[in-house]
Every structure is written in C-alpha cells, then in structure tokens.
Amino acid sequence: MRGGWTFAASVPDKGIAPLLEGLDADDRFIHVPCTREEEAVGLCAGAAFAGGQGVLLTQNSGIGNTVNALTSLIEFYDLPLLILVSQRGGEGERIAAQRPMGRATRPILAACGVSAAEVTDADGLENTISRAARERVAAIANPAAWAKILA
C-alpha cells in the first residue's frame, strides 16, 4: 500500500478476500479483522490519533454500519481515512437484498464527508490512494473489478 497506509481494519468480503490474505501475509502491515464495520472505523481512528493512516476494507453493505463513526469521530477530529469497498447490488446482482444498499452506498458516503471514486483497474486504485492524502475517499469496485485489480 503506497503512501503510508499501513494500518488496516476489515470485515470480510469475497471480492477483497485475496487482499485480506495479502495483508495478513505481509509484515509491513498491521491488519485487524473486526466484528463490525463501525468498530473497524474506531480502530483506524486510533491508528490515526497515533500518527498512522488507517484503511477500512469492507463490503458496501458495511458502510451502513459506519455512519456515526464517520461523522462524530473521523470528521469531527479531521482524521485521515481510506476506504476500500467491495460493491454489491449492481448490474447482474443475484441477491435482491443487496440492491437497496447498493443504491444507498454513495449518498451515505457523501453525507458523511467521504468522496466516492469508482475504480475499475489498478491505475484507478493508485489514483484514489493518492487522493486519500488530501481528502477522505472510498475506492469502490465491484467484484469483477477487484478480481482484475488483484489478479
């Protein structure tokens, strides 16, 4: 991970599973698997209070569990945060229950002061990580895009 984003907190998702395994296998990263996404934001905030930079890895449904932490913690203390989102509920989604949160994810992020960047390849991910040095941003990619990025 470029630019000092060496602390990661995650709730698992199939789309980013290889990334989570990679983080666990690499000593340069601290990776904490969490029980729920709000907790993961708390961990990233703790790392940021100590001068680190935290990355939240989650399925987009988990964004719904982060709202108060993104606002009353991350925004309030003006802490850095990069979010890597595995986006479900789009075209071709076979589980109907994923669709409402698929639609709601970007508006929720916007309301919480987090920019959303649609990412389709490795260059797009690199660009989004660069943006995270200046603003809170979420890189959003569907499972097919993550498969391409992580190939």
């Binding site: 602390f7 709000e38 907790e39 708390g42 209070f49 913690l73």
Partner: protein, 183 residues
C-alpha cells in the same frame, strides 16, 4: 467509589499510559479533575473508545489505557473479541460499570440485571481479567499490572456524577496532542 474517582485513580496509577476516555459525563469529569496532554477525550461515537484504544495501542510507542462505560461496552460487545485477539502488551481496557446509562437519563443497563462483565471478557478470550471496586484496590492492583499482555479491568462503581466541565479543547488540538503524546 464513583465513576470520576475510578477514572482519575486508575489514570494516575498508570502515568506512562495514553488515556482514552469515553463520551459523556466521563470525559467532562476527567477534564474537570485536571487536564493532561496524554488524555484523549472521545466526545462522540459511543461504544468506540475501546476500538480507538486498540488502534492507538497497535500504533503508538506508549502503552494505552482505554476507558469504556458499561452501556457503551454493551453497544459494541464485539470489541471484547477483537481486542482480546490482538491484546497488545500493556493495553488496559477498563470497563467503568455503574449499571446505568448515566449520560442519557440513568436508564438501567443489563449489568444491573446480572450480566457479568468479567465473565463476558473471559469468554471472549481475555486471559487477565481484574475487578476493582475501591480506590485502594485500584492503587494496589495497578501496581501488579504487567506490561506483557493486555488486561481487562472491571471497575464496579456507584452511580452518580463528580464535578464536570465541558471539554473546550478544539478537536484538532486533541488529535494533534494525541499524536505528540504517542511518539
């Protein structure tokens, strides 16, 4: 022993620790009793003081003491599992248990009905679990905390507030001084 006495005494007994304090009356009491640069007041995000404490403990060069209320612990019970899995050396998670949601009107919590914080912690993987219910027990017990593993301390306190003062340090300054104190 009331909440403000428990928080103040355990903080004083662990002078090398960064202190993370949970939202509501606890922060205002700690602030009123004498501010220190190593104190990080979490003024919102109820339930996340312990998670923030773990993130700090895994990143900072100093040990961390995180306070959480019984109501806020029950809001984020998963934190017991996550913190026990990592359990960095010197990390102390102190649950301040007055059996009520004191900052929102004194509604009773489940710990007042017999839910056992220490048993929850042990079942979640904490190996070192202590319970202190007097100031003397805190002062004596804090000296016996080793730096090897993480410790969960159940602080059983009586309901009731101490002197309070609104935390009027700017959030950016609280973040900046936490960073300085972590180095």
């Amino acid at each position: 022993m009331k909440r403000h006495e428990a928080v103040r005494h355990l903080s004083a007994a662990l002078p090398e620790h960064l202190v993370v304090c949970y939202a509501g009356a606890a922060c205002e009491e700690l602030f009123a009793g004498g501010d220190e640069d190593r104190f990080l007041y979490i003024l919102g995000s109820m339930g996340l003081s312990s998670s923030i404490g773990l993130g700090l403990a895994l990143t900072a060069r100093r040990p961390v003491l995180a306070f959480e209320g019984d109501g806020s612990l029950l809001m984020n019970l998963g934190t017991l599992v996550t913190t026990a899995q990592r359990a960095p050396g010197g990390f102390v998670l102190a649950i301040v248990d007055n059996g009520q949601h004191a900052s929102t009107g004194g509604q009773k919590t489940a710990t007042a009905e017999g839910v056992d914080v220490g048993a929850l912690a042990r079942a979640s993987g904490w190996r070192d679990v202590r319970a202190f219910s007097t100031i003397e027990e805190i002062d004596r017990g804090a000296r016996s905390l080793s730096g090897d593993g993480a410790t969960l301390v159940h602080l059983k306190v009586q309901p009731g507030d101490g002197p309070r003062r609104v935390v009027d340090v700017a959030p950016a300054e609280l973040a900046a001084r936490a960073k300085r104190a972590s180095a």
